[in-house]
Amino acid sequence: MTRAKKTWPALVALVALVLAACGGNGATETPETPETQAPETTAEPFVFGMILVGPQDDRGWSQAHFEGGKYVEEKMGAQMIVIDKVNPADRPDTSVEQVVDQMVEQGAQLIFATSDDMKDGILAAAKAYPDVPMIWSSGDSAWDIGKAYAGLPNLGNIMGQMEYGKMMAGCAAALKTETGSIGYLGPLINDETRRLTNSAYLGARYCYENYRGLNPDDLTFSVNWIGFWFNIPGVTLDPTQVTNDFFDGGADVVISGIDTTEALVRAGQRSAAGEKVWAVPYDYRGACAEAPEVCLGVPYFNWGPSYLEVARSVADGTFEATFQWVGPDWSDINNPDTSAIGFEFGEGLGDARADLEDFIAGLASGEIDLWVGPLNYQDGTPFLAAGEKATDLQIWYMPQLLEGMIGASSAE
C-alpha cells in the first residue's frame, strides 16, 4: 500500500505533464465552425479541397485562403472540403499526401495546397493523382522559366503580387515612425520572404525620402526571422518576444511577415501601456481588428477571384497547370471580385493616409517603380545598375536582402 501511496502522486504529476504536452495542438480560440451551407442546386456541386497549414481562423495567411475558398463556394455553388493545421507539429499523423487521398475519395475535383511548407507533399500527391488538378499556392513548380519547374501537367501555382502590398506596408511604417527605426518580423528565409521583405524596405525608403523629406540612409530597417511561418514553441523564436525586442531596441513600428498577428497584438498592448508604437499585420483583410488603433493598415491577399477562375476552368474542362503571379486591380485594389491583393487602411495611420494614398496612386499609374537601379544587395554586390529594371525572375529569386537592411539574408 505504501507503494501505491508513493506512486500515485508521481503518476498524477506525469500525466499532468503529458496533458500539457498533448495540449499544444488544442489551443484554438475558435467558436464552433458554422455548418457548411451548400447552396441548393440541382446538379452535383463542384467539390474542391483546401489544405491549410495554420488554423483557419488565424487572422492571417490561412484564414485568407479559407475565405478564398468560401468565395468559390458562394460564387459557384461549390462545396469545399477543408482541413487546417496540416503541419507535422500540429498533426503528426496527417500528411499532405494522406489528406489528398481522402479529399480525392470524397470527390474533390480540385485541390489547393496553400503553403510553401507543403512543397514535397503536394508534388508527391500531384504525381500520385495525375488526373486531379491541384494548385500549390505561393510555389513556382509550374513556372517554366523558374528554378524549380517540375513540369507536372496537373499542378499549377497561384501567388499574389504582394510585392506591391509590402511596399505599401513599408511606406506606411516610414510615414509614421518617429524614431526612424522599423522592425520587420520575418518568418523563415527563402526566395519569397526575401522578395517581400525587400519590397517593404523599398517602400519604406521611398516614402521616408519623398513624403517625410528625410534621408533614407538614416532609416533603420531591421529584419529578424523566427524560423517558420508561425510560432512553434521550442522550435521557432517567439514572435511576441521578437516584437518586444524590436520595440525595446528603439523601433516604433513593426511590420509583420508571418502568418499570424502577434506583432499587432503586442503593439496594441504596449500602446495601451502608454507607448507610441504601431504595427502593420499581413495576409488577411480583417487583421487590423485585433488592435485597430495601432494598426497602420494591412496588405492582404484576396485569393477568391483567382481560385474561382481556376475552379471554373476545372469545371468546364479548360484547366491548365500554369504559374500565375497575379497583380492588384489598380483601378480599385480593394475590389473583392477583381483584385488579388489589396491594402486596407488602419486607424493608426491618421493624417499619413493621404501620403500613402498618393504613393499607391503612383504605383498604380506606374509613375513609381521601385524595382529600378541603382540597387545593391546587402553585401554590396550590384543588383541593378542605374536605370536598369528588374525582371520577374530577378524579383522572384532574390538571393539576398538589399543594401542598407539589417538582418540575415540566409542561414548563418
Binding site: 500500500m1 503518476l11 505533464l17 507535422p88 494522406q98 481522402q102 470524397q106 523563415l188
Partner: protein, 341 residues
C-alpha cells in the same frame, strides 16, 4: 482476478472517455456516433488507411516498448521524446552521408538511430547514477537539447539551398526510404520491427536473468543491491535499451514516414508513449492494442474536420478526456485498495 483488476484502468478509462466524448460531440452539435464511426472508418476503412494507421502505430509502439523496459526497472524515463528525436537525427545523418543503395543505407540508418537514441538515454542514466540528477529532469532537459539540435541542424548545416527554414531538410533520395508495398505508405519492414520488438521485450522481461534484475531493481533497488544485483549496470542497460528502441522509432519516422528530418519529427509520440505504458500498466502485451487505439484516434480524427467540418482540436480534446479518466479511475482504484483490509 488481480490480473483482471490491473487491466481495468485501460478498459474503464477508455469506456468512460468514450461515453463523455459522445456527450461532448453531441454538445458540439455533431452526430456523436456518426463521428466516432467516421474516426474509425478514417483509420481502418480501407487498405490505404490501415496502412497509415499501422505506420503511425509503429513508432508509438517502439517508443512505448522502450519505456516499458525502463519503467519496469523503476526509472521514470520521460525523456523519450528527446530519444526519438536523437534517433531521427542519427538516421538522417546516415541517410544523407552514407553512400550506396537502400540495402546498405537503410539498415545503417536504423542502426545509427538506435545508437543515437541509446546514447541520449544513457546520458540521462549517467546523470542519474553518477550525477544524482533525477531522470525526470535529466530526461526532460535532454529532450529540449535534442529538439534544439534538430532545429539547429535543419536551419544550419542541413538546410535546403538558399533557405533558412525550420520546415525540414531536403527529402532523402528515394532509394533510402523504407520500401513500401501495394501502392500504400505501409512499410512491412517497419511493422515487422515493431512486432519483433514487442516479442523481444516480452521474452526479455519474462524469461531472462536481465529481465529479473530489471524487476528486482524496479521493486526495491536497495534490496536488489544487497542481494547482489549490479544495480548501476542494470539501470544503465535499461536506459540504453529503452533509448535504443525510442531511437529506432525516430529512425523509422525519418526514413519511413517523413523521409526527411523535421523539427517536430517526434510529434509528441514520446509523451504519448508514457500514457500508453501507464494505461498498459507497464505490460508489453497491452502496449500493442493501446498504441493501436491511439494511432486510430490520431489518424482518424482528421475525418472530424474533413467530413463533419468540426473544429480540428476535437481530436485533441478526446485524447485529453482519456488522460483525465486514466488519472481519475487510477485514483479511485488506489483509494479502494487502501480501504481494503
Amino acid at each position: 482476478m488481480k490480473r483482471a483488476l490491473r487491466a481495468v484502468p485501460a478498459v474503464w478509462s477508455v469506456l468512460a472517455a468514450l461515453v463523455v466524448s459522445v456527450g461532448l460531440l453531441a454538445l458540439a452539435g455533431a452526430p456523436p456516433f456518426e463521428a466516432l464511426v467516421l474516426v474509425l472508418d478514417g483509420a481502418v476503412g480501407d487498405g490505404g488507411r490501415m496502412a497509415d494507421t499501422l505506420m503511425s502505430w509503429v513508432p508509438l509502439t517502439l517508443a512505448s516498448a522502450g519505456l516499458v523496459v525502463t519503467f519496469v526497472a523503476g526509472l521514470w524515463n520521460i525523456g523519450v521524446e528527446g530519444q526519438v528525436i536523437a534517433g531521427a537525427i542519427g538516421a538522417t545523418w546516415a541517410a544523407r552521408t552514407i553512400p550506396g543503395d537502400g540495402l546498405v543505407v537503410i539498415p545503417a540508418a536504423l542502426a545509427v538511430g538506435v545508437v543515437a537514441g541509446a546514447v541520449w538515454a544513457l546520458a540521462a542514466g549517467v546523470l542519474k547514477t553518477r550525477g544524482g540528477v533525477n531522470e525526470i529532469f535529466g530526461g526532460l532537459g535532454l529532450g529540449f537539447v535534442a529538439q534544439s539540435v534538430a532545429t539547429y541542424l535543419i536551419i544550419g548545416p542541413w538546410k535546403r539551398a538558399g533557405i533558412a527554414s525550420t520546415s525540414g531538410t531536403e527529402p532523402f533520395r528515394e532509394e533510402v526510404w523504407l520500401p513500401t508495398v501495394g501502392g500504400t505508405r505501409l512499410s512491412p519492414v517497419a511493422v515487422l520491427l515493431a512486432v519483433a520488438v514487442i516479442f523481444l521485450v516480452w521474452a526479455l522481461l519474462r524469461g531472462t536473468r536481465f529481465g529479473l534484475r530489471l524487476k528486482a531493481v524496479g521493486a526495491n533497488p536497495a534490496s536488489a543491491r544487497l542481494l547482489g544485483v549490479p544495480t548501476e549496470a542494470t539501470v544503465l542497460r535499461a536506459f540504453a535499451l529503452g533509448g535504443g528502441l525510442a531511437g529506432l522509432a525516430g529512425a523509422v519516422l525519418a526514413t519511413g514516414i517523413q523521409h526527411k528530418l523535421v523539427p517536430a519529427i517526434a510529434g509528441g509520440r514520446g509523451f504519448l508513449a508514457i500514457l500508453v505504458v501507464l494505461l498498459a500498466a507497464y505490460r508489453i502485451v497491452w502496449v500493442a492494442p493501446i498504441a493501436l487505439f491511439f494511432a486510430i484516434l490520431s489518424v482518424g480524427s482528421a475525418q472530424l474536420q474533413l467530413r463533419l467540418d468540426l473544429d480540428s482540436s476535437i481530436g485533441g480534446v478526446l485524447q485529453g478526456i482519456l488522460v483525465l479518466f486514466v488519472i481519475l479511475i487510477g485514483g479511485w482504484q488506489a483509494l479502494y485498495r487502501r480501504g481494503e483490509p
